[in-house]
């Protein structure tokens, strides 16, 4: 596969995955891989299959055929929980934040720390002697959660947030996006997938989010970014995978290509018979 990355194993890899919705073949035998410490962009026209690919990886749909490999080993992902247990976190385009809850509550939603159980950022909740029912009535460990939320935001150098105790409804679009990304990173995640992270943002906020995306890669995470904005993509991505009508056209190395070539691939679709790297 993409041997340009010094023969390392991809963190996440799909091999020949397909997905049909009735008569619509949304994905046809797509190979895709993500290496630690890189930003890979997933581009393609509307309906190219980008969201379908990441939803399959995230466990929202099951692929009809093909395999998912994680750290080189074959894995079965049957639901969102399986994906997050592996360390795959998705920041959806609609962000999926509860507006009425504050930043800390959102970052820990569904995995709150409570008294009587160890505070851990393993996405997999360690079994304790306490039943799930009792745990849901234990006092929350608000202080530990707040400290962890603050330190995660600090690590990502998110400085625009004045307080982590503000309800998300009072935040700007860029602040929300930062919270959603920080939420994904909090859980010792290894792969973070962002669906159109800058679509609704202004110039300054787009810049903040792109910087944040770069910092995730510096922290040795594998980062997948879906975007329609080629300018943003060339700014942030190391590699660019182009999908067209459910097929993978090619994976380009950002430094070795230009916007024109990528646009041509998206629209005209010169399907190369050997998917993979460019040399």
């Amino acid at each position: 596969m993409a041997g340009s990355l010094n023969g390392r194993t991809p963190l996440l890899e799909t091999k020949g995955v397909s997905k049909a919705f009735g008569p619509v073949q949304a994905l046809s035998r797509v190979d895709f891989d993500v290496y630690p410490g890189e930003v890979i962009a997933l581009v393609g026209d509307n309906g190219a299959g980008k969201s379908t690919l990441i939803k399959g990886i995230a466990g929202i749909y099951a692929f009809d055929e093909g395999q998912i490999l994680f750290d080189g080993g074959k894995v079965n992902i049957h639901g969102p929980r399986d994906a997050s247990d592996l360390g795959i976190e998705v920041v959806y385009q609609d962000l999926a934040l509860a507006d009425n809850l504050d930043v800390v509550a959102n970052m820990f939603l569904g995995r709150e720390w409570t008294q009587g159980m160890p505070a851990s950022t393993d996405s997999h909740e360690a079994p304790t002697g306490i039943s799930r029912f009792a745990r849901n009535l234990m006092p929350l460990s608000e202080i530990e959660m707040e400290k962890r939320a603050v330190s995660t935001l600090d690590e990502l150098a998110v400085t625009t947030l004045n307080s982590v105790r503000l309800p998300v409804s009072s935040l700007s679009g860029g602040q929300r996006q930062s919270v959603a990304i920080a939420k994904a990173v909090l859980w010792n995640s290894k792969v973070v997938i962002l669906d159109e992270p800058t679509a609704a943002l202004g110039v300054a906020q787009t810049r903040q989010v792109l910087n944040l995306v770069r910092r995730l890669a510096e922290k040795k995470l594998g980062v997948v970014v879906i975007s329609h904005n080629l300018h943003d993509i060339f700014e942030v991505a190391d590699r660019i995978t182009v999908l067209r009508l459910g097929h993978k056209v090619k994976t380009y190395i950002a430094k070795e290509t230009d916007q024109q070539e990528v646009v041509h691939a998206i629209t005209a679709g010169q399907v190369s018979s050997v998917p993979g790297m460019t040399q």
């Binding site: 939603l109 569904g110 409570t114 745990r135 004045n162 503000l166 009072s170």
Partner: protein, 428 residues
Amino acid sequence: MTDIIQESDASVQSALLASQTAQTPGEYMRAMGKRIRSGDIGTLPIILGLVLIAIIFQSANQNFLTPRNLVNIVIQMAAFAVIGYGMVYVLLLGEIDLSVGYVSAVGGVSTAILLRDSLTNPALSWMDWWNVIPIALIITTAIGFLHGFIITTFQLPSFIVTLAGLLAWNGVVLMIVGDGGTVNVQNPVVRNLASEVLPPIWSWIIIGLFIGLLTLLEILTANTRRKAGLRAKPMPIIIGQLVIMAAIGAFVAYIFNINRALTDAAPPQQGMPVIAVILLVLLMALTFVAERTRFGRYVYAVGGNKEAARRAGIRVERIRVLVFMISGLMAGMGGIILASRLKSVATDTGGGNLLLYVIAAAVIGGTSLFGGRGKVVSALLGALVVASVENGMGLLNVSSGVKFVVTGLVLLAAVIIDALSRRSQQTT
């Protein structure tokens, strides 16, 4: 800090920040003013409403603000508040439970009838208040489960399912009460639940304990937060709050302890009603669950963004069913309190204005009909408003036509305030 605040003076964010960063009571008050200007009106409608109610009814009838009548209002509000506590949970989900009136009647009627029959039917002679009350509460909780189960299994709006429940449980009440029309509550414990008072010294002890506990929790939290290097509520503000609460608490205890007997010759009537203690204990327990546990967090999350909750791995349907069970449980308790207050149950128990009063109480208190926003305490404060209006109209002997119109207007005012404050909360 302050320069951040001045940047955009009108925004909700800066107003909230100001109240989080306030260091002195003065700053805190200014931040509150700012929050109100930004549309976050909090308990303001309640305070204004209560003042207005006091002025109107006192000027029409000198008996309105007497200690005797104020204690009556507390007893009158108890059922609205207790059923309202459950309604707050339902509203937090963004759902509604229209059945609570008649479900409460099922609770009251089963209590009254089982206690009555235990006197005559040897097979039921083992029954007494301490097992009949739990049985009645299990019945109403099961009814709540049934509503929640139907709503989640068939993906139906709670509005419709509980509307069906409203009718069906009304029918059930009619069937069990039967031709007799009225069942008296004879068991002394249940009968006195709503009217029993504690010796005067207990007014001070209980209100003191309540305020002391709240303040202690605030201080402990602030200290642990400060030690952890997090922003904590400054001591002067905690003390300021303590002073205000202590003043209100002392006033309430003082009122409870004034002799309410109508004549000097009559035995003295004074002290805190037991029912007020029950209201406070339930308030603390349900507030703890709503604000300090995962379960409560999930209730807010489902009401704020159901899809986000689902993607976070929260079992949304289970939360919804549990909340309808809480609603059934609290309705049952309210029904028993009502039966105790009226000393009887009848075919019309649970009907009339009860449902509207309960919804109005929760909404007036600041819980949103749109889900995700509100507090358990809003049911208590709103119930005080609603019971005051009901009580005042009773003193003035207004016709039931006028009562219905006024109740309708109060509810309408509450939902308009809710809709307006919701609009102002939304940014971008």
